[in-house]
């Protein structure tokens, strides 16, 4: 700044004391002034909004810095902005600590057990189960009274097959019946069921090493007639099979992965060509190119800033519950995210090869294909795989709002 442009420092300081940033604007530092004015106002409003009014007082320090800055600027000296920026960061850290209720003692006591349960549950996924079969043996008994049969014929006992005998077999209400079972699978647990209109559990038993067991139950039936009891035992037959949980979940899981895959693929198809239009180094030729660049970048930002869940809700409203809604949501969000990453990959390439290819007489498209594409391919692949990775997780959450996949199974 030369002597002619110098302003009165006192006036600048006073202006900035009245309205932060005004003194800087007075010294023709438009950007700096506006940043201070808008930044401080927005920050104060933010602190007020979250109920941290006491911090606005601390911001007085920045107000003092701003006066000093205006005073120096008028003399043509630019002071460092590090101090106010660090102060603002610290104040915001304090506020965010309070707003998010960070409370470390919460980790103690009951919560720890809950966390333990959740984590151990996650650690034991139910993917496969043993193949089993159920073995049963049935016997009858009579409740004595008018109309009851005089005797019952017990089924013939085949040696080697599980069977049970009851003693006594003619009972009254309250009689204790002893059940003796033979030829069951040794060292296993089973349960006794009273058959009837309902199946009523009547206790459990444990076989010894010969496959025998003895247990007692109390008959509480009083209407004369014959009744059945059945011993049931579920035994492994050897071999494993997929658990029923997995059988239900697996198709949904594949649906989720494919949902993420096609979502990524669709965003790639749109993001790929657009990213070249959103790369500053390729689009700085003339005013039209720069306008296209700005437009594309704004579009990427808008698409990226809308939460996937919100897009999913809109998509569900548009095309109905199901994976297609999820695909649309992932694809639309992905265009913004991938487009930005691609564009920045293009912006970071070496300029030399572009110059060399242009100088051979290549047109713009040839230059992109020969000088730009080879340089960005590895990064494009990495970004795309990373996006797919993110999309698999997002697809799970999208299911919760009706976007299909494993998340839909959860609700």
């Amino acid at each position: 700044m030369n002597g002619k442009d110098q302003k009165n420092s006192i006036i600048a300081a006073v202006l900035s004391a009245i309205l932060p940033g005004l003194g800087q604007i007075y010294s023709h530092e438009w950007r700096r002034g506006l940043v201070i004015l808008i930044g401080l106002t927005a920050q104060a409003a933010l602190f007020y909004g979250v109920g941290a009014q006491w911090l606005i007082g601390v911001m007085g320090l920045i107000w003092l810095w701003n006066i000093w800055d205006a005073f120096s600027l008028a003399k043509g000296i630019r002071v460092s902005t590090a101090a106010p920026i660090i102060l603002i960061l610290i104040l915001n850290l304090i506020v965010s600590w309070k707003v998010t209720d960070i409370h470390i003692p919460s980790f103690q006591g009951e919560q720890r057990k809950v966390i333990g349960n959740i984590v151990s549950g996650l650690g034991k996924p139910d993917f496969i189960s043993q193949k089993t079969r159920q073995i049963t043996a049935t016997a009858k008994y009579i409740v004595i009274g008018p109309g009851a049969p005089a005797s019952i014929k017990q089924p013939a006992v085949k040696h080697g097959e599980p069977s049970i005998t009851l003693s006594p077999s003619k009972v009254e209400k309250g009689t204790i019946i002893t059940v003796t079972g033979v030829d069951f699978t040794p060292q296993s647990k089973g349960s006794m069921i009273l058959l009837g209109a309902d199946e009523i559990p009547a206790g459990s038993f444990h076989t010894d090493k010969n496959g025998r067991f003895e247990m007692k139950f109390v008959n509480d039936r009083y209407i004369p007639g014959d009744y059945f009891v059945q011993a049931r035992m579920v035994v492994p037959t050897g071999g494993w099979s997929l658990s029923s949980t997995l059988k239900d979940a697996a198709p949904r899981m594949f649906e989720t992965i494919y949902l993420a895959f096609i979502g990524t693929a669709l965003s790639l198809i749109f993001a790929l060509p657009l990213s070249f239009l959103g790369a500053r180094n390729l689009m700085s030729g003339n005013a039209f190119c720069r306008a296209v660049y700005g437009l594309v970048r704004v579009m990427f930002s808008v698409l990226r800033s809308v939460e996937v869940l919100i897009i999913a809700v809109i998509a569900v409203a548009a095309v109905g519950i199901g994976p297609f809604a999820g695909v649309l949501a992932l694809a639309i969000h992905g265009i913004g995210a991938l487009g930005k990453l691609y564009s920045e990959a293009i912006e970071s390439i070496e300029h030399g090869p572009i110059e060399a290819i242009k100088s051979t007489g290549a047109n713009d498209l040839q230059t992109v294909v020969y000088a730009v594409v080879p340089q960005v391919v590895p990064q494009f692949i990495a970004f795309t795989l990373y996006r797919w990775d993110i999309n698999v997780r997002m697809a799970t959450v999208i299911g919760l709002v009706g976007g299909g996949g494993i998340g839909y199974q959860l609700i």
Partner: protein, 250 residues
Amino acid sequence: MLRIENLTKIYPNGTKALDGISLDVPNGQFVAVIGLSGSGKSTLLRCINRLIEPTSGRIFLDDVEITAAKDLRPIRRKIAMVFQHFNLVKRSSVLTNVLSGRLGYTNPAASLVHMFGNDDLADARSNLARVGLLEKEHERADSLSGGQQQRVGIARALMQKPELILADEPVASLDPATAHIVLDHLEQMNKHDGMTVLCNLHFLSLARRYAHRVIALKAGKVVFDGTPDEIDDARFKEIYGEDAVQVEIA
């Protein structure tokens, strides 16, 4: 015949890189352009093929006004360029890099899917053989040494069958022995193929060895234009400043 009339380039930040340069370069001449860093050598070369748009002035190649051309393709393909940092596409193969020299001639649509005619392919192989790198055709460009990469750059330039070669510090990143190999190739292209060479050089000794004519730039103006022998100590100090000392390169 290359004719430059009153060429001026002012960058957006106000730097005046070229200040009213006028030159005539007859066909078949080997011209060395010398001068300090920032004297405008690179800008001059880049204005000729319009990698940089001149602010004012006119440039003609064979009576075609380059500075007025709408379609640069037919002009640029007649002017090859060799760069200080070789500017090969590193991840592409040597052969692809050489073939890219034909991009100004090929059918644009076919070249987008890397389709080149058999003639181009044969040309590329013979040009690679000419610079002694035929056995490297399938290797990635960045696996080659600096001198080899610059020879690939020369093979790429040869693919254009150019009338004019713009060499922007072609040997500044190379050791003295390799520098001579590269400059020998440029000299051969000048002598045998009759191509005009405009070469920016740092070392006056190299200019003396290879050039027919030396043009010295200082602050965007031509301060010397003559044969290499005419540059004595007084001239040298005029070009490079009072404190400069001549450095020889073997």
